[in-house]
Symmetry: C2
Subunit: 276 residues, 2 copies
DNA sequence: ATAATAGTGTCTTTCAGACACTATTTT
DNA sequence: AAAATAGTGTCTGAAAGACACTATTAT
């Protein structure tokens, strides 16, 4: 382990750093478990909507409830690396955009023991089928509709339908106030733990970041057409865009490849682009 | 502890949730320690600059280095509550704006043991003097200058001067790229741990949020004049604003109280306002 | 041929940026 | 009276929003 202070410097107990580290007992403080949880979303193949990956819980607590994919952070990895590993293990997703959102730390958010969760946004260009039920782990893609007033997560094949209503409440921080979305369960089925709140926080971040980053490009294949990219923007933002204005907006970030393909959403040939 | 699933539901071992929780052993996973660290900043009394609170480390590692205030998250509190408590204990700061920024989790960021840190922005309207050196804890306010190319933290009374140069590097995330600031130490003294990176991440967030939140108001007293508020905006943003434009921008968020005071930065009477 | 949609032109509105001026207050 | 600064009016240009038109392609 690398030393951080001058070699000979001694503390109030007369120890050098090397001596201090050798005798240090990490058991002095009670430690929480730390997990990562991912909001993994991607477009449906025909770009008619978004999908979210959920994992069915095979054990207590929230037995049989659907939950965001995630898992414990190992001793030798960062949270980012843990999120990457879990996505690969649980969803078979490799090339993925990953960004930290928020750390959830209510002491009772997991009834087993103290568990903090570092939440991540994970965006993928395709929602490839996941194996289901071969081990304890059952994973599936759900249709995901997110509006200002509602979260709707459903999968008709499995017969699962989860609805949360969203209402705006104002909170105080210091002497300034700001609005926050509060979910209310409207269906029989619910999501496990505080995972609705993770979804809300992640979607808030996504919508904000779309304005000044290339984030929606991570939901498009490397080569894409503008009609398709526009639909991806619209899915993430939750509203329609004007074609001409959209093209002006992205113009200086893309380059034409001089090819044409049939776009997914339209029925005609259109120019193929890449992100610069 | 509240149950999360239907009372009788049994898992693959035939246990109800109640039975499961009773036998659950939390020792199965290796757990990190979790701390909170705060970027506590506020304006100098004459609004001529910003100040940041630092704590001198009295023990290994980084013995005698200055560090962001912070501490361990207790078993019964959220990270937010821990941050609030530590600010009150270490800096005597009560009414403060507090917002989570980012969770730092490199396995070797603390040489003692695995320590994750949840970073917070803390904004206060006055940098009240802190007691120094009465217990193991020595705290002091430092002048804080943050530009696109440099972080400068200094206190001439104590004789401490810390400089980091900032350069922009591009990183890849999935198949999109985005820029990030990387610090290089330019002074003899350094900050403890990865606390420079916390400062960079927090300032990035502050500058972004100024555009669409009331964040700078948390550095002003409840009643303020517009010349003073404008200077606070300029300190946080790092550049000058046009008076007329600034007033249009904040116009619909403030209300005049019908009083006048001498503004801090000017030498004339000016109208007193409050945040709506 | 017809319908759909890819792609572009352009008008309007809004807002940020910039400067100039008047009014008030301190020294 | 002079200097400084509080407070307001207004011009400009860039960008967002909105609509209309032409060109191309699938059926």
């Amino acid at each position: 382990m690398a030393l951080t202070t001058a070699k000979g410097l001694r503390d109030q107990n007369g120890l050098t750093e090397e001596e201090f580290l050798a005798q240090y007992d990490p058991g002095d403080y009670e430690r929480p478990s730390v997990t990562v949880d991912m909001l993994l979303i991607g477009p449906k193949k025909d770009l008619s909507g978004l999908r979210i990956l959920l994992i069915k819980r095979g054990g207590h607590p929230y037995l049989n409830c659907w939950a965001l994919p995630g898992g414990f952070v190992h001793p030798d990895e960062t949270c980012y690396e843990a999120a990457k590993r879990e996505l690969s293990e649980e969803a078979g997703v490799k090339d993925v955009f990953l960004e930290q959102v928020y750390t959830f730390s209510k002491p009772d958010r997991d009834p087993r023991t103290r568990v903090m969760s570092v939440a991540y946004i994970a965006l993928t260009s395709k929602t490839v089928p996941v194996r289901g039920g071969d081990d304890a782990l059952e994973a599936a893609w759900f249709d995901f509709e997110y509006t200002d007033s509602q979260i709707h997560i459903f999968n008709e094949d499995i017969g699962v339908d989860i609805v949360y209503e969203l209402s705006t409440k104002r909170f105080k921080n210091g002497h300034i106030k700001y609005p926050n979305l509060t979910p209310t369960l409207k269906s029989k089925t619910r999501l496990a733990f505080d995972h609705v709140e993770i979804i809300i926080e992640a979607m808030k971040k996504i919508r904000k970041e779309i304005e000044y980053t290339d984030l929606p490009f991570s939901m498009a294949p490397v080569k894409f057409t503008l009609p398709d990219l526009q639909v991806i923007y619209e899915l993430l933002l939750g509203h329609k865009l004007y074609k001409a204005n959209f093209r002006i907006m992205v113009a200086d970030r893309i380059e034409a490849l001089g090819e044409k393909t049939k776009s997914i959403v339209g029925r005609r040939m259109s120019e193929v682009y890449m992100l610069k």
